[in-house]
């Protein structure tokens, strides 16, 4: 599996790099258009308001914060910035984290890709949504966010597929959200 993983990772990062150049303008355009029509992004409001889930008597899913001001938001909530193209269950609610699968599952090396804007540093990041497979059946902390999601005809941008490939089981448990890198800010005029 290690060889397949390494190969896949190379392919994935290569794809991510190409995607960042080719479609960054379109993606940034969408983000900027959204920002101009929505003066207060939901993430900004969430950061300002006290989180009721933080109350230990709230009975709600406990929030998870990075503690890093450059990576703001509750990683156990759908509106966390890195979940902009997620469709599934958050691993942070299953004993995993934003970027680690829960114990007893296996991380699929083959994934779908999104581009999400970090509200703290204003950068767009290429995000890999790796599914964790073979554990409990999904159902907790379900999220449906579809920024940049495209139909299954373009599989690498589709979040409806169970991305459990190269794993012992293809039964879906949850999804993590791993930064592959910042999208390159320069857009060549030829691509506009």
């Amino acid at each position: 599996m290690a060889n397949i993983d390494g190969l896949t990772e190379k392919m994935l990062r290569g794809f991510a790099a190409r995607t960042s150049r080719r479609s960054l303008f379109g993606m940034l355009g969408g983000v900027l258009a959204g920002a101009s029509s929505l003066p207060l992004l939901p993430v900004a409001r969430a950061a300002d308001a006290p989180d009721p889930a933080a109350d230990p008597k709230s009975g709600q899913q406990p929030p998870v914060y990075s503690g890093n001001p450059q990576d703001p938001g509750n990683q156990a909530s759908c509106d966390y910035w890195r979940y902009c193209a997620i469709d599934g269950s958050l691993c942070a609610c299953y004993g995993g984290t934003v970027n680690a699968c829960p114990p007893g599952t296996e991380m699929s090396p083959i994934t779908w890709i999104g581009t999400c804007r970090n509200p703290a540093d204003g950068r767009s990041y290429i995000v890999s949504y790796n599914d964790c497979c073979g554990g409990v059946l999904w159902g907790r902390c379900n999220c449906q966010r579809n920024e940049g999601d495209r139909p299954v005809v373009r599989p690498q941008n589709d979040n409806e597929i169970t991305w459990c490939f190269g794993t012992k089981s293809q039964s879906y448990t949850c999804t993590v959200s791993i930064i592959l890198g910042a999208a390159e800010p320069e857009v060549h005029p030829a691509h506009r």
Binding site: G34, C78, C143, P151, D158, Y172
Partner: protein, 396 residues
């Protein structure tokens, strides 16, 4: 269960005597009749055309009466993962394609088609699909389809290499597999064939022989702008022409009357002013028709990147010949999937749920039933415990 012991039976009789020793209610002269054991219902075949199959995708497939105020669940069959349904007109059976693991979420994987008897809902046959390659994707149209007059079943496979498994359904056997590299989903065409949508923006048409082997193929020019204006994979057929809608609000008809399908000219659903106001199709099963001349499309106001699969507030109704909009229906709750029943007086069936961008706990969904002419809400059905996408397949 162990038989009742004499001592226990005596105490039951004593308890019954004690409870009946109270004064009898004079309004009821006779006790209720004893029930019959065992007692299992069957369904009338053919099913009434006010019934629909509701595909809860990875939970169950439910047969529900939407055509009467009883709103009853008529029956259910179990589903496990990305389960898809095929219901033939000409046979008293239907088929589901599903995937299970021997230890529930792990162990040996089995992909299989189950044959169900329409009257009893008993599984009467099974066809195991080889290779562990059936596509595990939220159930959508194009994953399990008929061709050759309902004889062949076509199953979409994704590993992530794409292929199609060809099955002889009455013969209960797998005939073979067809590679469709870079392409996805199956849309039947002609007598014995299908077309599939490709990641290059083209469409590949395949003509098959009786054994399911490819005897002709043709790829169209690029027409599907997957970055900026992709076709929704939902579609509806009128007179052999399949109508797709696009994310930005165009209709893309594809003539599937011959095996080698043809891309027809597209036309807009929205005026320039409506386009400027960001009216766009949005939802899951976003388009349906009456099968004659009228198209129904779920439409969302203020649509933007990320809302393309959210429920929509309205259904816009079009004449496919004149391309004119003839009605706008305002939904009482935003809808994600729509379908029209095949009754003489069709009903518009709308699945709604609350899309959550924050908490991850989605509200229970509803099935709302409308008069498609007046837009009046006729009845509303609960879908307990259901939180996400659904496919609706009205009984033919």
């Amino acid at each position: 269960m162990s038989p009742i012991k004499p001592r226990t039976a005596a105490s039951v009789i004593l308890a019954a005597w004690v409870s009946t020793s109270a004064p009898a209610a004079p309004r009821f002269a006779n006790p209720l009749p004893a029930g019959q054991i065992p007692n299992v219902l069957t369904l009338p075949v053919p099913y009434p055309k006010g019934w629909v199959f509701l595909d809860y995708a990875s939970d169950r497939i439910e047969i529900r009466d939407v055509g009467s105020d009883a709103r009853a669940v008529k029956g259910q069959v179990q589903a496990r993962d990305s389960t898809t349904l095929l219901v033939p007109d000409g046979r008293n059976e239907f088929y589901t394609a599903d995937t299970v693991w021997s230890r529930f979420t792990r162990g040996t994987r089995t992909d299989y088609i189950t044959v169900y008897d329409k009257k009893t809902l008993e599984p009467t046959g099974e066809i195991v699909l080889p290779g562990g390659k059936r596509a595990l994707i939220t159930a959508m149209q194009g994953m399990f389809e008929f061709t050759d007059h309902e004889r062949l079943g076509l199953v979409f496979d994704f590993t992530p290499a794409s292929s199609v498994t060809v099955v002889d359904l009455p013969g209960r056997k797998v005939l073979g597999s067809i590679d469709i590299p870079g392409c996805s989903l199956i849309f039947p065409s002609g007598e014995r064939g299908f077309f599939t949508l490709c990641s290059s923006g083209t469409m590949l048409s395949l003509k098959l022989d009786a054994q399911g082997r490819v005897i002709d193929r043709a790829e169209s020019a690029r027409f599907n702008d997957l970055s900026d204006n992709p076709l929704f994979t939902s579609s509806t057929v009128i007179d052999g022409v399949r109508y797709f809608v696009t994310m930005r609000g165009d209709v893309q008809p594809i003539d599937g009357r011959a095996e080698i399908a043809k891309v027809l000219p597209s036309w807009p659903l929205v005026s320039p002013a409506e386009r400027a106001a960001h009216w766009q199709p949005a939802g899951w099963q976003v388009v349906t028709s009456d099968g004659h001349d009228t198209l129904y499309v779920l439409m969302q106001a203020n649509a933007h990147e990320g809302t393309q699969k959210d429920p929509s507030q309205e259904v816009w109704v079009y004449d496919v010949r004149s391309h004119r909009r003839i009605r706008r229906l305002h939904l009482v709750r935003p809808g994600a999937s729509i379908a029209l029943t095949h009754a003489d007086q069709p009903l518009l069936v709308v699945q709604s749920y609350v899309a959550s961008k924050k908490g991850g706990e989605l509200g229970d969904g509803r099935i709302d039933v409308y008069d498609p002419r007046s837009g009046a809400l006729l009845r509303s059905l609960n879908t307990p415990g259901f939180h996400t996408r659904m496919l609706i397949e009205p009984v033919r």
